[in-house]
């Protein structure tokens, strides 16, 4: 709309925004108008973060909790990708499978992933299996949908050429459908990772007995607002790391495919 902004000015304004945010936060918590248990200042939270790196709270240090969250996340997410992507591709290729799975999928999709918590706990317990199912139900829909859309949008000429040359069905999927849908699949994997990570937090808040979510619930009961905020920061930070990792993989794959 207006012309492009000078980068230095942009940086300055951005810094103003951040300083304003932290300044306001520190001012409100330091003013004495609110109790420190209600809103601790940014420095209190930072100090608490350093403390939790070495001292244990709710059964472990922050890193121990993060590690058990990450293990659950990896299991649920990889399962969602391993089932969702192939199923999506097959649904894009075979109409009958699409007709069979779509009504089930559309029905289940409206159930918020978190609403699976009671059954997940009943079927797989609250330790590892239950949370994994919830992460799976969060990450699965985008994995499947994007693979499906990718496969549907493959130029039919490629498929016709492959069919005419007598390529077996399995090879059409691995050598035509899959490479052509990679950008869409990766986009789905990134969305799925975000939703899966968020579902993990929800699951841990409700049922788990380790993990960052559990740490936060315990901190809430103990009215340790700083610990709750450290948990929020850690969850946000790991979420960004996961996204950065997937972006790196995405860029690498794009380079290998020659920007196709």
């Amino acid at each position: 709309m207006t012309d492009v902004m000078d980068p230095a000015r942009r940086l300055l304004l951005g810094a103003c925004g951040l300083i304003g945010f932290f300044g306001l936060w520190a001012a409100i918590s330091g003013s004495g108008l609110v109790a420190p248990t209600f809103l601790p200042g940014p420095l209190d939270v930072a100090r608490r973060l350093v403390f939790l790196l070495t001292e244990s709270f709710a059964g472990g240090t922050l890193l121990v909790h993060l590690w058990s969250s990450l293990q659950r996340f990896a299991a649920g997410y990889l399962l969602a990708a391993a089932v969702g992507v192939p199923l999506g591709l097959l649904m894009g290729r075979f109409r009958t499978l699409d007709d069979i799975v779509s009504p089930l999928f559309d029905g289940l999709r409206f159930i918020a992933p978190i609403a699976w918590v009671p059954f997940a706990a009943l079927w797989f317990g609250t330790g590892f299996g239950g949370p994994v199912l919830i992460i799976f139900s969060g990450a699965f829909p985008p994995c499947l949908l994007n693979a499906y859309r990718g496969a549907k949008h493959v130029d039919p000429r490629y498929l016709e050429a492959a069919e005419m040359l007598g390529t077996p069905s399995g090879r059409i999927i691995t050598e035509v459908l899959l490479p052509a849908s990679v950008p869409s699949i990766i986009a789905g994997l990134r969305i799925g990772a975000g939703l899966g990570w968020q579902s993990l937090v929800g699951a841990e808040l409700i049922v788990a007995s380790t993990g960052v979510g559990y740490l936060m619930v315990q901190a809430q009961s103990a009215v340790s607002t700083t610990t709750v905020m450290v948990g929020m920061a850690a969850i946000g930070f790991i979420g960004v790391l996961i996204d950065v990792a997937l972006r790196t993989i995405e860029a690498r794959i794009h380079r290998r495919l020659g920007g196709a």
């Binding site: 951005g14 009671p118 706990a121 937090v201 709750v228």
Partner: protein, 261 residues
């Protein structure tokens, strides 16, 4: 013909699933009723929830409670998020100042606000509305912002050249131009609202569908769990359909203008 074929297969699939449900849980007992309810259990739980109530209230009360929280949180986030998105899409300065703060807070998933919201506002409605607000806020801001940026430049220049007053410009150029993206954002916001509501009510509540699910889990009552899940799905779908109807009405001008939807 393809549509009828598709729906025929769809109906068959659902029938097969229903049959499998009856056979696995009720008739053969391969799946124990303690793990997944039989159709009869589910029916009985549904009737119980509707007539006598479960968790100190009837199903209608739980549903209304959940709908109320979703509506309040969602509307509050629109009321703040859409204007903020318009501002950030329009003014480069506002964007430069606010974007870093936004980027800092955005990676925190809405569900992670639940413990803080409880510390601030307790287990009542306020905490849940706050969390839903956080969840629905991000998609409405981002999509509105993108929507403003996709408005064609000549339209904006024409309006400026004609000296359109500020308010008319916002109302008649910015909002309509961004509205397709605004609605995309609202759909995402609504979805996020439901997820967050269920999670917040599972963590702690005195009424609502999540509260029902939580009790049913503690009571090891699979029939009631299923009733709760089905309700979440039905009302999630209904509110999404309602938003779709509003969208079609609001964007009717777009279709009449040439059908390029």
């Amino acid at each position: 013909m393809p549509l009828s074929r598709r729906s025929a297969v769809g109906v068959t699939t659902l029938a097969v699933v229903a049959l499998a449900w009856v056979l696995l849980t009720g008739v053969s007992g391969l799946v124990s009723p303690g793990r997944f309810p039989t159709p009869a259990d589910t029916w009985a739980a549904g009737i119980q929830a509707m007539m006598r109530g479960y968790g100190d209230a009837t199903l209608v009360v739980h549903v209304l409670q959940s709908l109320k929280l979703v509506a309040l949180g969602f509307l509050a986030s629109i009321a703040v998020g859409v204007p903020l998105g318009l501002l950030m899409g329009w003014s480069k300065t506002a964007e430069a100042v606010l974007n870093p703060v936004f980027m800092l807070l955005r990676p925190i998933p809405p569900l992670a606000w639940i413990p803080l919201a409880i510390l601030w506002l307790g287990l009542g409605d306020g905490a849940k509305i706050l969390v839903i607000f956080f969840a629905a806020f991000v998609p409405s801001v981002i999509n509105t912002q993108v929507g403003v940026k996709t408005i064609e430049r000549p339209v904006i220049e024409a309006a400026r050249m004609l000296g359109t007053p500020r308010w008319r410009f916002v109302r008649e150029v910015l909002v309509p131009g961004a509205s397709p993206m605004i609605f995309t954002g609202l759909r995402l916001s609504l979805q996020a609202s439901w997820t967050t509501l269920v999670a917040a009510e599972l963590v702690g509540a005195l009424a609502g569908l999540g509260h029902m699910l939580n009790l049913a889990q503690q009571d090891l009552y699979p029939g009631m769990i299923l009733v709760g899940m089905v309700c979440v799905a039905i009302f999630g779908a209904l509110t999404t359909a309602l938003l779709g109807a509003v969208e079609r009405r609001a964007l009717a001008w777009k279709r009449t203008r040439g059908g390029a939807a």
